[in-house]
Structures are given as C-alpha cells and as structure tokens.
Symmetry: D2
Subunit: 133 residues, 4 copies
C-alpha cells in the first residue's frame, strides 16, 4: 500500500538555479514519512515524550527532474523492508506522472539512551511492514 | 562593546535571485547571538539542561544590500537595552565597510513552565548590559 | 480585504526547543505573500522573466506564541500602505483564534539593474492597495 | 588527495532531537564541494554566468553518529570516479577521529538547455579525477 502526501513547492525552497535545492527533497521526504505515520495512527508526540526517537540511518536518493516554484508534487511512501528495530521505506516524488526523485530511506528506533531498540509494541503498526509480510 | 562574528555566504543560502534569502539573515543573527553568548562565558547547554529558554520576542530588520555566494560577512552584536527578564541587541551585518542589514532583536528568558523569568544569577553576565549601565 | 493562506507545521521546521524556529516564520510569511500575489492574478514568473524583482526592505515581527509540529496555521495578509515603487503588508499568523506572530513587511520593486522602480502597469493590481485608497 | 573543509554546527541547524537534521548534512556536503571547487581554481560564478550548471544526480549517505550544537566538523571531499560529463565524490563528515556520516555524491554538468554536457575545457581541472587516473 502506497501512502500519498501532497505539497506545493515554495519560493524559499528554490536555490539560485531556481530549482528546489537537493537538500530540500530530504525535507519533503521527512514530511511525507511523518504524514505516513500520522495517517497510520502512530502517536509520534507520545513516542518522543517517552524518550524514543526514529532516526534515519541511510538515504539513497536519485534526482531525475528539477522541481520549480509552484510545482504540485505527490510523494509516495511505501515500506519495503522491516527488521526488529529498523526498516526501509521507498519514496517517490512525482509531478503529474513524471518521476522527480526516488529514494530508499533506512530508519531505526533509538531508546532514551540512544541505543537501537525494537519499536515498542504500543507504537508498532502493520503499516510499517511490506505487503505480504 | 561590539561583539564580532564572521561567516561566509554558502550556496544553499541563496534563493532564485542568487541573493541570500531574507529569512536566512535571521539564521545569521541567531548564530551571532549564540557566538556572543559563548564568547562571554554563557553556558548555553547547561542553561537549556536546566529547563530555561532564551526566546526572541521581536525582530525589526532593515535589509540594505543584497549578499551573494562567498560574501565574507561580519556581524556586530551589541546589547542596547536590559530589563530584568528581557533585553535587546542591536545587530549589524556588514560586507567590508558596507551595511548589508541591521536589526533590533528583543529577547526574553522563559522558565521550564514557559513563563518569563529573570535570567538566573548563575547565567547572568555584564555583557548583556549596554555599556555604562 | 485580508487574504488567507493555510499551512501545517512540518517536523524539520522545529528547532531544539521543539518550536518553529524564528527564521522559519519569515519563510511562512514569504509563502503567504506569494499566495497573495498568485490569488490576485500577479504573474510572478513572467515578472521575474522580465528582470524585475520584489524584494523585502524591512520586516518587523512580533512573536507571541510558540508553534509546534502539526499546528494548523492561518496566515492573514493585507496591504496597509502603497507607494509608487514600494508598499507594506501586515501579516498575522494565527492558530485557531490565537495570535502566534504578526509582522509589518515593507516591499519594493527593483528593475533588472537592481534599481527601485514602479511596478510595471502590466503587473500592478488593486489588491496591493489598502482598502479605500 | 582529500580536500578538507571545516565548519561548526549552528543552533538553527538542529531539530527537535537537538541533533543536526538529516537534510542539513546535504547542505554541509554541498558547502564542502563548493569549497573543493573554489580551492581547486574552479570559477563557479563564471561557469554559471555562461549558462552551465553542476547538478547532483544521486546521493547515498550513511548517518553514523549524531552531531550537536557547536560540534566542530571536518568534511573530507575526494573524487572517486570521473566520466566525460559526470563524476562522483566520496565525502566524509568527521568529528575529531569519529565518522559522523559519509556519502557518495554523483554529479553531472548541464548546459544552458538543461542537457548533459562535458565540462567545458576552460573549467575542467585534474582535481576532479581520482588519483592515478
């Protein structure tokens, strides 16, 4: 199941080429993952209040097309791997039918001591598992 | 006494006019205020660990000249007012002798409950008072 | 006539106090001004393609309340002054009925040589004038 | 030959975990690549003025340790691949001897029409080739 987020490119996100700067795409992807969690009932504020953190361990992103001011972008987010204390999303940024960028994002959960830890049962959700797993 | 910070404009700080975006100047000013505190012996990490926060209550900034990639900027920071739980800095951003921007920044201290509070004596420093006060 | 924009606070806009960083409000205000122009038929891309720029000459912003992740913010933008080559907006950022921040933003138009110039007639719009002017 | 850049983490680069946000590392890497070009005599402003662009085609970044306010970071930048119209840098972000993050960054050159093009001879530099090539 692909989760869908939408956003529109803002002026201050564009650099001197008038294109969305490559680092801003990581903001977009983070936004979409947070929307994914929210829409799947994950209580992020409670999770953080209990001392847990979701961190990004690795991102591999391919930039395919430039995005510019006012572009309406769709971000697809889908889980593609799940381990006990980590997982991977595949995320695609699209403008209409055209692929602007795509990324594999590996995440992990840390406890209050900053150590890798399984997602507490209270927060776990089937949405974090690839279909069929 | 004017405190001096220096920085060089980075590529990702420039917008589609190839100028430093107006919001980025507030980043620069925050950076310079943090350097001011550090250079005056203010233990910011300890301050935050004790639950205090320094927040910005008001900024009035005049943009005079554009700054561009690789510009070497100097930021002057000087206290111009001091109350029990708040104060004001005047900050000037210069490129060589030319004024790029200047701002009055009003700050306040909040306690762990988010309420205005005097700076704890342990953290107070004469550097936060205008000369002669 | 107040123009209304809406946005939701994103995770990467929050700083180590878990509040929207003060510089980010200027991004929000710029976003709202661009929406104002768009919704009033101002062809910004054509304007820029002809070598013009709208720059910010001054911002005076009062921070009233903190905004945090997922806050739904409304930004009101209204013209409060108009000169030949410049003008001023008053902008208010609200969460529900509560005032989060408000700002006076002075803008000016520059030509391709970077000199102040009246807005070309083709781009001018009554929306940039305060009501009754 | 590894090129070395240095920077210090600024307050506004930290997110609500009080860590440098993952997107900010891409800003740091871009900064270091621009320093690499500058220190190797690449005239970036002239390059852009002639209508060329260097774009990022792919970034694969591994996050190893968190960076926090005032951390003094060193960024190593070294070419590891070179094709006619593209190449790859390996970049490492270090704090003291500890690896904070490392990335492979694939770049390409576009002409004024946005098409991939060899680096014009005037701008090419042996520094963009891995040692021994």
């Amino acid at each position: 199941m692909k989760h869908i987020s939408k956003l529109v490119v803002r002026s201050y996100e564009c650099d001197s080429y008038s294109h969305v700067n490559n680092a801003v795409y990581l903001n977009y992807l983070e936004y979409a993952r947070m929307e994914f969690l929210k829409d799947n009932g994950f209580d992020y504020k409670k999770f953080v209040a209990q001392g847990y953190a979701i961190i990004v361990a690795r991102i591999a992103i391919d930039y395919k097309l430039s995005a510019v001011l006012d572009d309406e972008l769709t971000i697809e987010t889908a889980p593609v791997r799940r381990r006990t204390a980590s997982g991977m999303f595949h995320q695609r940024i699209l403008r209409g039918g055209a692929l602007v960028a795509e990324a594999d994002v590996t995440w992990a959960v840390l406890n209050a001591q900053g150590k890798p830890t399984p997602i507490p049962r209270e927060f776990d959700t089937p949405a974090l598992r690839p279909e069929g797993e």
